[in-house]
């Protein structure tokens, strides 16, 4: 699984990246977490509210930073 965190580099985006890495670690799954800062790529996903959260090229949510426990649930649901 490849998880992308889309963000232009603001503090909320960094927080989401950290939460995502923690969630992946806690779940103990094989997943690569990539931070995407390139605006062209972000727009290709159609995301207007950063941060955006993408699992295997599908946008799951935008514009919020869920807690680690919530993220674990989201990742589980979108396997």
């Amino acid at each position: 699984m490849i998880i992308k965190v889309l963000g232009t580099g603001c503090s909320t985006c960094k927080k989401l990246e950290k939460h995502t890495k923690d969630a992946v670690k806690k779940l103990g799954i094989e997943a690569e977490v990539i931070k995407v800062e390139d605006i062209k790529t972000i727009m290709q996903f159609g995301v207007m509210k950063v941060p955006g959260f993408v699992i295997d090229e599908k946008v799951i949510f935008t514009g919020k930073v869920p807690k680690v426990a919530e993220l674990m649930q989201i990742i589980e649901e979108n396997k």
């Binding site: 580099g9 909320t12 727009m43 159609g46 207007m48």
Partner: protein, 322 residues
């Protein structure tokens, strides 16, 4: 509406702290507690209500609505949507690109971008707490008017060539707009209340504390002489000082409240607030990624002039508002 609280805090100051509210210390303590509690109550209610409405207008939908409009009606729609659409300044670039790419005219995009930071539910709640309904609503309406007029002028100047070329060539895919249940909207609104209050409480407390000090100790004669409504240059100075000064505007409201009580012109204080929010340097640097310096300059000049005019207007009609 808050008379009960006023009386309660008076009792607290006089019977628990044993200080008379007519002394400097007493009036400062009273201001601090009364303002803090009142602002928190109103913030909670306002953020909740507006966030609920907002859950119906994610930027993806706003862009669809606006791409169907043109002309002055479009500018008004864009400004109105700017009041309920959230964005932290880090989203301004993707929003700008998304709008332009969806065929929203440049003028409409700017109406949205100008009004959005000036008018938001937190500022509205604090203005309501500090100055009451009339002034809070007048502030919102003028914020919308500045956005509408600014957008119309920028649209008339035909500055489409001042947008970075790559913006027009971007591939933007449409994102599915989430369907939310009533319960999800309530949750979203509650999350927002928590998020905004956690983000601003420190600025607010500092602002209220400074306001309390001004309340007890600032010399009224000096302030009303130099920054009162009768000094025509005060507004100009407030805006010019406010532009480079990037602060959390919400913290400046209680300070403004205390200054106004000491004789500073209402328009002067409000235009200072608008200038610090609408024209911030970090925002300019972000927008520089998508628009060329000439258009950024125009944006600052037009918005700046608008805010200065608002200052003069408020100073001249102050007696009707408070």
């Amino acid at each position: 509406m808050f008379n009960w609280l006023n009386k309660l805090i008076t009792l607290l100051v006089e019977n628990v702290f044993h200080v008379s509210t007519s002394t400097r210390l007493g009036s400062s303590i009273h201001f601090f507690f009364y303002d803090t509690i009142k602002i928190i109550i109103l913030l909670g209610i306002m953020i909740f209500l507006i966030s609920y409405v907002r859950s119906y207008f994610p930027p993806e939908r706003t862009k669809k609505i606006l791409s169907r409009f043109d002309g002055v009606v479009g500018n008004i729609m864009a400004s109105l949507l700017g009041t309920v659409t959230p964005f932290c300044s880090c989203s301004s670039v993707p929003i700008f690109i998304g709008f332009i790419e969806a065929g929203v005219p440049l003028g409409l995009t700017f109406s949205f971008l100008i009004t959005s930071p000036i008018v938001n539910e937190a500022a509205f709640a604090i203005l309501l707490a500090s100055f009451g309904w009339k002034l809070a609503f007048t502030y919102v309406i003028t914020g919308i008017v500045v956005g509408v007029v600014g957008g119309i002028v920028i649209g008339k100047l035909k500055m489409e060539d001042q947008v970075e070329g790559y913006v027009y060539e971007m591939q933007v895919n449409d994102l599915e707009i989430e369907k939310l249940t009533h319960k999800e909207r309530v949750n979203f609104a509650l999350e927002n209340v928590k998020d905004i209050i956690l983000r601003i409480w420190i600025f607010l407390l500092i602002g209220i504390a400074l306001g309390a000090l001004i309340h007890g100790w600032a010399p009224a004669e000096v302030l009303s002489k130099y920054a009162g409504p009768s000094n025509p240059f005060a507004v100009l100075v407030a805006v010019v000082v406010g532009i480079p000064l990037y602060s959390n505007a919400l913290g400046t409201i209680p300070i403004a409240e205390a200054l106004i009580a000491k004789g500073v012109g209402i328009g002067t204080a409000l235009s200072f607030m608008m200038a610090t929010t609408a024209l911030s340097l970090p925002e300019m640097l972000l927008l520089r990624k998508v628009i060329k310096p000439k258009l950024i300059k125009m944006f600052v000049i037009i918005t700046g002039i608008g805010i200065i005019l608002v200052g003069y207007l408020f100073n001249s009609i102050a007696h009707l508002l408070v």
